[in-house]
Amino acid sequence: MRFMVIVKSDEKTDVAGAQPSAEELQEMGKFNEELVKAGVMLAGEGLLPSSEGFRLQYSGTTEARVVDGPFAESKELIAGFWILQVKDRAEVIEWMKRAPFREGEIEIRRIAELDDFDNATPEIVEHEKKLREQAEAK
């Protein structure tokens, strides 16, 4: 299954726009290399601070409005992400325990496969339920 690992932003990286140090970059590079060599990393990128970002806001029939960054509430912002393909939740946890973070928070969300909701006929739901029961009985 696939997971998206979302790295949260903080004041330091977002508002102050602090660049990671050479050492931090090196550590992250090493970690990424491990993920790639283990065949679990599908994608991953770091994002620039929200001062270079913008939002599009939709409301009813009026034209969408562009709002430029930076944005307040930097803890709600995203500094980067990975997409990992692993066996289960425990494996993604085990991998991310090895990430070179010393503080802050990451959020991990499972990526929906199309069967998760697309055209979910009773047969599909039943099938999915069975799979989950089997997985839990493991």
């Binding site: 939740r89 425990a90 055209n119 599909i124 069975k130 989950r132």
Partner: protein, 424 residues
């Protein structure tokens, strides 16, 4: 699983550590003992020790090093008990003395990639049956447990356990060296390695509609093995070719089964359901493979290039059939097969017209290998109907319908036969 468990118990944490560390662990131990079977057993012993101790003590900070230390200590104990291994004991014992609070992973880092590659080549050694190679690869490099392999192959756990024991014994009896062969031997052995990985992939891929979650998971496992191998052998074009092929095929998983579990043919698939990340990865792996050969294709890269033609087309109509026909021609030269010829006929008919396809197919009708292959009359019927030769087309569709074992397909073919009856 969505919101099923709030916490991760130690058992699943240990499983996860095992999955991440076991291949390196076994590879390192195999270098030390020069015995892959023994290495695997020592690693399993360390896993058992972890299962006993970690639930109490918690997962250590560097679980890989913990497992290696434990396994290495057990190796020394084993050798001590067994005089035949006195020499090995000497070697390991000496090493052990130098390392007071040993950090084995640090020492291993220099060798780990070589060791892993040696492990892959040993597990896929031709002295073993194909089934044994598959089971050993999944166990030693994939880190799967015996019961998981048994489940994936719909076999009894005892049967798989026996297969693995026998395989390890065969390797030992044959004194298979723990090494990556060089020269011509290397090419032949690499193709065995790639074959094993692709077999695992297909086992999962063809079973997507199966009941058991483990079987589709085999696709992911094969992909992971392929990606690991690509990291270990970055200069081998066919390794990247195989990875490209698997990534692109896997990108279609969600589109190739209909709402009631029925297979959906490539041209009828909803292309918005294709996984763009996997397609992107597949295309770059293919590019890498091509750049290493200067554009020439091996068997896997050629198939990947065909898959890439489909992946690049946003709609079925946009498909570059002329290129696909050329690629099938090249593939046929590498690996002559009437089925590939039949595929080339279809591609050519799409690119040029049904006459060109029919010309090839007519030559295949006497092919003994296709005698019971319903797609031959089915494809021939299709060309004939497009050429307006309806009586002949109908006969071909009816013949194909008799030959197929699939009810849905039979209905489809009989419908096509009926369409060939001129309406009065």
């Amino acid at each position: 699983m969505v919101g099923v468990t709030a916490t991760t118990d130690s058992r699943s944490a240990i499983d996860a550590v095992w999955r991440i560390e076991s291949a390196r662990l076994i590879a390192g131990l195999a270098r030390m003992t020069r015995d892959v079977g023994l290495a695997e057993e020592l690693a399993q012993d360390a896993l058992v020790a972890a299962l006993e101790q970690w639930p109490e003590s918690g997962v250590p900070r560097n679980p890989g090093a913990w497992l290696m230390t434990t396994a290495k200590r057990r190796a020394v104990d084993t050798f001590r008990r067994n005089e035949r291994y006195e020499k090995k004991l000497g070697e390991i014992g000496r090493e052990q003395e130098y390392e007071e609070e040993p950090d084995f992973t640090a020492g291993l880092d220099d060798h780990i990639e070589d060791d892993l590659l040696r492990l892959v080549f040993t597990a896929c050694h031709p002295v073993l049956s194909t089934e044994a190679r598959v089971a050993l690869t999944l166990k030693m490099i994939g880190g799967l447990q015996t019961h998981e392999i048994a489940r994936a192959f719909l076999a009894k756990e005892t049967a798989i356990a026996q297969r693995i024991v026998r395989a390890k014994k065969t390797l030992g009896d044959a004194k298979v060296p723990f090494e990556v062969p060089e020269g011509a031997d290397r090419v032949a052995r690499l193709s065995s390695v790639l074959e094993v990985i692709y077999l695992i992939f297909n086992e999962g891929y063809s079973a997507t509609a199966g009941e058991d979650w483990m079987r589709p998971a085999l696709c992911e496992e094969a992909l992971r093995l392929g990606r690991i191998l690509a990291g270990l052998m970055p200069k081998e074009p066919e390794v990247h070719g195989l990875v490209a092929l698997m990534e692109i095929q896997a990108s279609r998983s969600a589109a190739r089964v209909g709402p009631n579990g029925e297979p959906v043919l490539l041209m009828d698939q909803d292309r918005t359901k294709w996984n763009r990340i996997l397609i992107g990865r597949g295309l770059s792996a293919l590019e890498l493979s091509e750049s290493l050969t200067g554009g020439a294709f091996g068997v896997y890269a050629a198939q990947a290039a065909i898959a890439a033609c489909h992946a690049r087309a946003r709609t079925g109509e946009e498909t570059d059939w002329a290129r696909i026909a050329v690629l099938y021609e090249g593939l046929g030269k590498l690996n002559p097969s009437p089925v590939i010829e039949l595929n080339r006929a279809v591609a050519l008919s799409m690119a040029v017209g049904p006459e060109a396809g029919l010309e090839i197919v007519d030559k295949l009708t006497s092919e003994p290998a296709l005698k019971a292959y319903h797609l031959l009359p089915s494809v021939r019927g299709d060309f004939l109907s497009k050429l307006g030769r309806l009586d002949e087309a109908r006969a071909e569709f009816e013949r194909a319908a008799e030959m197929t074992g699939n009810d849905r397909e039979r209905t489809l073919l009989l419908n096509r036969a009926a369409e060939c009856t001129p309406r009065v």
